[in-house]
């Protein structure tokens, strides 16, 4: 199939492993799905310390389940990307640990205290869910199938995040103050979740044309703001003065002043060059190395006549 035909036929779940896709499509889809998979894995690493730090057993169990879900999503997505035939899962995992793999800007920043957790588990996951819901209609069918399962589970993450947010927002004055501080620190990064404006996006047009993406960055950002700004206000969170967010009453939508956001930092982050992000990647590399022996044990045939089935006895 050539790119022209792909563009003509592009629609929800239109293409699968049985189709001969052109190189441009396979590379664009790989880039997009690999980014998504990497983000799931790195998100899990950000949240993992909070299994230990959770203030109650219920929270501990829920954060633990969530971390487990994210790793599972990563694996599902690597499989969906692998079927494009550009890179193997092993190659993609190797790229992640050696710092070539790109992932979501928000997971390059350290998460130091419990008050910051709802920023990830409600706002960032909420933004991700907004985007993921549109990908149920992506043109690469294996990706859409992975998204079906991801969206099923993600609702729990966001509701748990909102539950923590509500607890803190209705807690002591000190809780409320620390929550507000965390919000102010994270809000600009969250606004950058969807990437730069459409006119600056490098890959957006092609991805839209071949149906990999079904909504542009700008439309997604506006849809997110419409749902989540009122939500933040409901919990008594005040939007910081900068970046300015304006409500257009006539057309009922919010708009952020892009020029108020630190795009220099964003692109440093995106290039895996932001110091705290480098630390996150290093952590991931150490974890990957630490369990090398497990992968070896699984993949290497057993010596000394021990049959894998012996484990069943």
């Amino acid at each position: 199939m050539d790119v022209e035909t792909v563009t003509e036929r592009a629609g929800p779940r239109e293409f699968g492993p049985g189709d001969e896709m052109p190189r441009e499509y396979r590379e664009a889809a790989t880039r997009m799905i690999q980014f998504h998979a990497n983000s799931e894995i790195m998100g899990a690493y950000i949240e993992r310390p909070f299994i230990r730090q959770a203030p109650s057993l219920d929270r501990k169990l829920a954060v633990s389940a969530q971390v487990q879900d994210e790793i599972g999503h990563g694996q599902l997505l690597y499989r969906a990307a692998e079927e494009l035939g550009v890179k193997t899962r092993e190659e993609m995992l190797a790229e992640l640990e050696n710092g070539e793999g790109k992932f979501l800007n928000c997971f390059h920043y350290p998460l130091d205290d419990w008050y910051e957790l709802p920023m990830i588990m409600f706002f960032v996951d909420g933004a991700a869910m907004r985007r993921q819901a549109t990908l149920k209609r992506t043109s690469w069918e294996p990706y859409a199938h992975a998204i079906d399962k991801i969206c099923f589970e993600e609702g729990f993450h966001i509701k748990h995040g909102e539950d923590i947010l509500r607890t803190l927002a209705t807690g002591s004055r000190k809780d409320q103050e620390r929550l507000q501080e965390a919000f102010e620190r994270w809000w600009p990064r969250i606004l950058q979740f969807f990437g730069p404006t459409d006119d600056q996006s490098t890959h957006g047009d092609f991805s839209m044309a071949v149906g990999l993406k079904t909504m542009t960055n700008d439309d997604l950002r506006n849809a997110f703001l419409n749902a989540y700004v009122p939500k933040a206000e409901k919990y008594g969170l005040e939007l910081p003065e900068y970046p300015r967010v304006e409500y257009h009453e006539d057309d009922d939508y919010y708009e952020v002043y892009e020029e108020d956001l630190d795009w220099e930092e964003f692109f440093t982050v995106a290039a895996n060059e932001y110091p705290t992000g480098v630390g996150q990647i290093e952590k991931r590399r150490r974890a990957q190395d630490a369990v090398e022996w497990v992968r070896d044990a699984i993949e290497t045939p057993q010596q000394g006549g021990v049959d894998p089935a012996a484990a069943d006895d």
Binding site: R13, A62, A65, G126, R130, G155, F156, I158, A227, Y228
Partner: protein, 109 residues
């Protein structure tokens, strides 16, 4: 030889298991599957798989916990009393989880 048949009704649907056929080889299995499972009902594609090649994990026989046989309320969106109606995608996820919970309850009965 037994072959399990999975039918995809329309393009883009998931293949779902619809039954089996007995056939001595793959070619006949495909033909029988067509006749048995795709002659009347709409079908876009069939998967025909040798029964012996299917790996199975059975909850009762292997004594494994699958799909929430242990108490894990904390894993369900429905466990959290927050308003999900502010975003349609959260509502959709909540609905899917409610359905899954109902199915699980049905299994227990």
């Amino acid at each position: 030889m037994k072959w399990e048949v999975f039918r995809q009704a329309k393009k883009k649907d998931y293949h779902t298991h619809v039954g089996d056929v007995h056939a001595p080889n793959a070619e006949l299995a495909r033909q029988y599957a067509q006749i048995m499972h795709a002659r009347r009902k709409p079908a876009n594609s069939l998967w025909v798989v040798p029964r012996d090649d299917i790996e199975e994990v059975h909850a009762d026989e292997q004594g494994v916990a699958m799909g929430g046989t242990t108490q894990k309320e904390y894993r369900w969106a429905t466990n959290y009393n927050t308003d999900e109606t502010f975003a349609e995608e959260i509502e959709a996820s909540q609905r899917e989880q409610e359905e899954a919970e109902r199915d699980l309850a049905g299994v227990d009965e």
